[in-house]
């Protein structure tokens, strides 16, 4: 009766989405980060009146423009994938996903199209103040776009402010503010945007260090490093703080993700935080997860077996029980639809109540093996450590750069310039590792507890997704080569030639 979904179809669709999202994310953080750097430099120009700052701002704007041009519209491919590969998901999320994405699209188009043009074409045509405002508004437009995208993503991690309508088979928004200002969305936004500033600052310092290595543009390079170090240090510290808050939220709304991040199979009270191997910080995991050194942190086995006391005093149910309740919800949905078709309102009412009672476990009805509820532990464990480790390194990096800038010794140490230059890929690795933690950590869910990937996927042939996967791979590689080529050419020319 049923044509079973090919598991390779699911894996190829996931791989394609991951490829597109990770490629898109190569551009976004640099756009957000450079926007702040160039805005600050232009502000210095307007405040001091020194042409030096105008020239400096224009150079970083040029690199911003290259990155913006290559990256623009790459995110749209993700929306194509939703409609083609993830059609059940697209329908099921309804306007919850559509509204933030529509706002993002309109805002991004109008703000960025208007102010980017003024920023690049308006130096001799508008006043200093108007130009400065346009530069900041370009960055603000990109940041607001990021807000709405992250609202949509946060909703998938922690769905709030909606109700499932079994008549339309869609989730309907019942509380816009709960969706738009969900604490998960707020923290995700701050963590993501501020970490993008870190990446932008590392990029500026790395490129400036290249000039110092070549003994070119020393004044420009030192000034750029100084400005970027201030921005980077501030952003890295706030990123660490918001990371701590995010981990606390994850412990409450996605405990399996936290357990996988820590490779914690059997949890308990007063849990230490594993740094690497047997190096552990006593009580730290309990403190991070519960803000109490004696707090209980469930491990993977605890989450699967249930039976432990949760923060709200209730006893956690097992994965098997959740699966049973999920199946009950789906069965009730089927009965509701049949009763509706038959015009039996009484039976429909009973089925709907059963559905609503078990709706929090709806997605578990598609899980055939509880082991599939566990994300890839190795990938999670190491991605998390790479992200946090590099985050700590960047704090030290910016502090050292700032210290040397004030000692006026920045130009002296060539070994430091090499480190700065090679820190650029490290910033990208940290940024991508963060997204791996966020997205691999919520597997197998497209929407946490509501819709797993095997239910969200369209009934397509794996071959068609494989074809587009390789088309993207080629296209993204070509674009990446183009970006790096144009960027390197612009950097070699240097700020004098703006």
């Amino acid at each position: 009766m049923f044509e079973t979904i090919d598991t390779s179809m699911i894996d190829w669709s996931r791989a394609q989405f991951a490829l597109t999202a990770m490629y898109h994310w190569l551009f976004v953080p640099l756009t957000l980060g450079l926007a702040v750097v160039m805005g600050t430099m232009e502000t210095l120009y307007v405040v001091t009146g020194k042409e030096f700052w105008k020239r400096t701002a224009q150079f970083w704007m040029k690199l911003f423009g290259i990155n913006f041009a290559v990256g623009v519209a790459t995110g749209l491919i993700l929306e194509f994938e939703f409609g083609t590969n993830w059609s059940n998901y697209s329908w099921f999320v309804g306007d919850i996903f559509g509204a933030p994405l529509a706002i993002e699209g309109i805002l991004a188009f109008f703000m960025e199209a208007t102010f980017v043009a003024v920023m690049f074409f308006g130096w001799k045509k508008v006043s200093k103040g108007f130009h400065l405002a346009s530069t900041w508004l370009t960055g603000l437009g990109a940041t607001i776009s990021a807000w709405w995208i992250l609202v949509a993503n946060a909703w998938m991690q922690h769905p709030v402010g909606m109700a499932f309508n079994p008549d339309t088979m869609r989730n309907e928004m019942v509380d816009f503010l709960a969706v738009a200002f969900s604490p998960v969305a707020v923290m995700k936004f701050l963590h993501t945007v501020l970490s993008s500033w870190v990446l932008g600052a590392v990029f500026v310092i790395g490129i400036s260090a290249w000039y110092l290595l070549r003994k070119r543009e020393t004044e420009f390079a030192v000034a750029s490093i100084k400005v970027a170090s201030y921005i980077g240090l501030f952003a890295a510290l706030v990123t660490a703080g918001t990371g701590d808050k995010s981990a606390y939220q994850v412990a409450h709304v996605q405990p399996m993700k936290l357990a996988a991040m820590e490779g914690l199979y059997d949890g308990g009270y007063r849990e230490p935080l594993t740094v690497v191997g047997s190096l552990k910080i006593p009580y730290m995991l309990s403190f991070l997860a519960t803000h109490d050194t004696n707090g209980y942190v469930p491990g993977i086995n605890d989450l699967l077996n249930g039976g432990y006391e949760q923060a709200d005093g209730t006893v956690a149910i097992s994965a098997e029980e959740k699966i049973a309740r999920g199946k009950l919800a789906i069965e009730a949905l089927g009965q509701y639809r049949q009763a509706k078709q038959a015009g039996d309102e009484a039976a429909a009412g009973i089925s709907r109540r059963t559905l609503e009672e078990n709706m929090p476990y709806f997605g578990y009805g598609y899980i055939k093996d509880p082991a599939t509820l566990v994300p890839h532990v190795g990938l999670m464990f190491w991605s998390f450590r790479i992200m946090v480790g590099l985050g700590c390194y960047f704090i030290l990096f910016f502090a050292v750069m700032l210290f040397l800038a004030y000692k006026k010794e920045l130009a002296r140490f060539s070994w430091l310039h090499h480190i700065a230059l090679w820190s650029i890929p490290l910033a990208y690795i940290a940024s991508q590792a963060g997204w791996i933690v966020a997205e691999v950590g919520r597997q197998p869910w497209t929407i946490q507890d509501m819709l797993p990937v095997n239910a969200a996927i369209s009934r397509l042939e794996a071959g068609s997704v494989q074809t587009t996967f390789f088309i993207f791979l080629v296209m993204f590689t070509v674009l990446m080569i183009a970006e790096i080529g144009i960027m390197v050419k612009a950097i070699r020319k240097g700020p004098e030639h703006v």
Binding site: F2, A69, A73, R337
Partner: protein
């Protein structure tokens, strides 16, 4: 109003004319948009539920979501 539109038009026109390195980027953007919207969207990424009415989409996704759960159960047994 007409004067403002002309001023805005001239602003963009002059901006594009005076571009140096930006020309390459605009070509890159145009080629990319063509590939994304014309080739990829039309030939490789049609909407899976395209051609169905709202009612049919509800019906289709509803049946899919119920059947998928049954498929999983069937595979276990």
């Amino acid at each position: 109003m007409k004067k403002q539109i002309i001023t805005i038009f001239q602003f963009y026109r002059d901006g594009f004319r005076e571009m140096t390195w930006g020309r390459t980027l605009w070509w890159l953007i145009l080629v990319k948009l063509f590939v994304i919207f014309v080739i990829l969207k039309l030939f490789f990424f049609p909407s899976f539920l395209k051609g169905k009415t709202e009612q049919e989409k509800q019906e289709y996704v509803g049946t899919e979501l119920i059947d998928r759960a049954l498929e999983e159960s069937k595979e276990i047994h």
